[in-house]
Every structure is written in structure tokens, then in C-alpha cells.
Amino acid sequence: MGIGSGRAHRLYHDLALVAVGIFVATPLLVTFLGGFKDQGELRANPFGLPSTLNLSNFAQILSQPDIWVYVGNSLVVAGMTVALTLIIGAMAAFAFAQIRFFGSRMLLNYVLLGMMFPFATAILPLFVRLRDFGLLNSYAGLVLPQVAFGLGFSILLMRSFFKQLPSELWEAAQIDGCSYAGFFWKVTLPLSTPILATVGVFVLVQSWNNFLLPLVVLNDESLYTWPIGIMQFQGEYNTEWSLILAFVTLTLIPAVIFFAFAQKYIVEGLTGGAVKG
């Protein structure tokens, strides 16, 4: 066993980790620290710790109601998107996984088509359609298309999970005279919380970060989600970087906290569903 070469590798690995770590962390650190500095200090000392713990940027932002409105809207939209995607997606995935019917394969492929193209290809007709439905400037105008575009991915993950559930369960349930819907509700769903959590997390992140759709759909500032809000803020404060960085930091904090909690599901989702999909 080449112990020597192992040590050399260890050194290379450590160097690589540190180098990439610096590459990844620097912009984040500079952003975080920048929020505490004023314009002059930001320029003179971009890397270092702020000379004083200046909280006025944060105070100024948090004292405006805007940021709370933006985050609140994002929460509502993301929450509704997750709930609807899980309900509708799980039902469809169950039908595809458990029920044999004519055209099942074809319909599945039809829905999976949705994974292959971006929002943007259809954004203009989507806009026209939402306008004709009177859904512009409403939560529904964001939620329904987000759910529709997320269905392909969600159904793919959930279907492969449902298929892995032991088939004896269904055979036993059938003998008890259990219907498909009853089985779905009482057996499949309770056993599927891990995959529901994983799909939920991915859909949540997608919705939380969505930019193009709300950009086109929302007019009313009281409905802005935070990615639109942050662009609005930047438009208003242009080059006042310390203020903008403070705003960015504030919007990143919930994402980081959420990530700490949801990490398990993200990793499980990648290990389980996606990889086998």
C-alpha cells in the first residue's frame, strides 16, 4: 500500500479544499461584512472586519416595511406552491406507479416532457394566457404555473419512490377490500414522508428563488416576492453598495438557516430518487 503517495494526495486534497473554499467563501464573506461598513470603508477595506459594528444599514432596511412584505409574499407563494405540487404530484405519481391502465406510459412521458424545457420558452404565451385568465398580479398567477412546471420533476421522483414500496402491501390491502384511493391515503402517503420532504424542499427552493415569472406577472409592489423586491431595492439605491449588501445578507440568512435544517432531505433526495430516476 503506497502510504507515501497517500500522504502526498492528502496534501493536494487539503490544498484543493482550501483553494476552492477561498473561492467560494470570499464573495459571501465580503457581502456579509460589507453590510456593516459605510461606503468609504467598503472601498478602502473590502476584505477586513468592519472598524466599528455599524448596524445602521440593517436597521434602515428592517425599519422599512418593504422587506417584510417581500418575504411574506415569498413565503405564501412558496407555501402554496409546495402544498399544491405535493398533493397533485403525489396523486399523479401514485396513478402512474400503482394503477395499470391503457396509455399510462404515454401519459407519463407526456408529463415528463415538462422537465426538458425552461419557463422562458413559453413565458410570452404564458403571460398572454395569465392575462386572459385575469391572473396577472395575483398569487395564483405565480403558483399555478410554478406547480405546472414543477410537476414533471416531482412526479418522476415520487413515482420511483412509490414503485419501490413492497408490493405485498398492496396485495394485503386488496384482500382487505381497500380501494386505490384508500390505499394511497392510508398506506402510500404515510410511508412516503421522506420523498415528500425532498420534493417539497426542492420545490420550495425553486419557488423562493424564482425571478422571471414574478418579474412578468406582478405589478403591485404589495405583492412583490423578494427577488423582485431586491432588484427594486437595487434600482432605488443604485451604487450604495453597503446598503445593498446589507439587504442581500438579510435575505440570505433565512436561506442559510433553512438549508441547515433541510440539508438531510436534499442529500437524501439526491441519493435516493434523482440518482435512480
Binding site: A95, F117, A120, L124, F259, L270
Partner: protein, 310 residues
Amino acid sequence: MTMLEASRSGRAPTRRPGLRARLMKSDRFVTAVVFLVPALTLFTLFVMMPIGEAAWYSLFRWNGFGAPTNHVGLKNFQMLMQMDAFHTALKNTGLIIFFSLIVQLPLGLYLALILSQKFRGVVLWRSLFFLPYILAEVATGLIWKFVYDGRHGLAAGITDALGVDPVYVLADQELAVYAVIVVLVWKFFGFHMMLYIAGLQNIPRDVVESAQIDGASWWQIARRIKIPMIAPVIKLSVFFSILGGLQVFDLVWSLTRGGPVNSSHTVVSFLYDFGIMRMRIGFGSAVGVVLFVVCVGFAFSYRRIFMKED
């Protein structure tokens, strides 16, 4: 809710096997319909029909007001193909995919090989590298806009400290797209790394251990055993990264708005700038159709060639 009621009536116990089989059959049919209709309706209304409509609108010169009446045939496509800005957008999209394949994925793979081992702090490293992926692209764009800003930003601080002339990366027609690519690598390599880690952890321990006993080096084990064993994951990550590369928008829009002088447009930012901002629904739809054809063509041929097993 109908589905619950349907399930209750369907559960009515009976001793006559014929009837029971018939009930099962009708339950199967009813459930399939009830369970599929919401998903299929939403999907058809908000995904498939808009894409079909894009194909229709692309034949018109139409500003979106009223109904499309000015039929121009393939003129939108003709104009599109003649536009330098569109050629640049195609080229940039190609560059983004190219660099994600030769930089982002190998970097992710290398780090995954290191971080799929167990050692102190491994979770911390993984989290750090994955963190950029969960940040919104708009926020990422602003962060890096500050990093690149030659007058007020980090770049200014660096050039000041070194006492050299300020550098304006985002104002350079040659460099702007590479500046965008750096940010894309920064943001997405962690996602692919996680995919690989997930795959690597599924490799049975004894396979690796027996190779170690045979005296194989770290690099040999990686190249001969680990990488071939996660080939399906790699195929999947290549698939994601190409499809993702075709769709890059938010980041470009918040960093450069496609500038300077349209030099950093991607296909989607081009669509937004020349279709939506100018309210040329017909022309923008033509861009959408081209993108659609590329995406679907790629996805089908890729699945056919590399992912046959599924």
C-alpha cells in the same frame, strides 16, 4: 372531496367475486382519472399549450395587444438567424455548457472524491460548497456585481491596494461572458458535487477495500473503480448541466443585462431583452421555439444514446 368519497363507496365489502372484480376495475378506472386529471390539466394549460401557442405566435408580428393578425410567415425566424446578437447568444450558451462540462463537473467530481471519505470537518466543507447552489440567482448576481465593480466594489479594493489601474471586467465585451461563467461555476459545482457524493456513497465498501489491499493508489481507485461505478450519476449530471446551461437567465440579467453591447447574452436573456422588453411577442416566441427544439432534441437524443437503461 370526490376522491375520498369515491374511495369510501369503492370499499363496500361484497362476497360475490364477479361483482367485486367489476368494482375493483371501476375503482381502478375512477381513481386513475381522478388522480391524474388535476396534474394533466395544470400541465396542459400552463406548460404544453403555451408552448404550442409560442409556435403559433412565432408566425406573427404581434405586440401582444388584441389578437395576432399580421401573419409574417417565417420572417421572425429569418430575422433571428440574421441577428449578430442572437449568434452571440448561441455562442455564449455553448460556451457556458462547454465550461460547465470541462471545469464545473470535473471540479465537482474531484471534490466529491475527497469529500465522500470520512474525516473531521467533512460535513462543513460539503455545506460550504453546496451553499451557493441554494442562494437565489438574483442575490448571487448582486454579490458578484459588487465583486466585479471596478469603481466601488471588491475589484476596486484590490486594484487600489495593488496600486494599479482599475479593472472593469463587466464592461469588457470579450471578458463579460467569462465573468458570468466564473459565477456559474461558483454557484453550480456544489450541486454536481453533491450528486457525485451521493453516488459514491452507494459504492459497496468491500470493492474499494479490496482494491486498497491490492495496493492500488488513490488515483487508480478513483479512475478504475469509483468513477466507472458512478457512471449513471455522471450521465445524469451531464444531462442536468447541459439542460441547465441552455436555460441560464437570472444570473446574466442581474449581472450584465446581456451587455456590454449584447456581448454576454444567453438565448434566454436574448429572448427577454428582444421579446419581452420590446413587447414583440411574435419575435420572442420564435426565440422560444428555437430553444424548445434545441432542448427537446437534446433531451431525446441524450436519453436515447446515454441513458438507455431507464
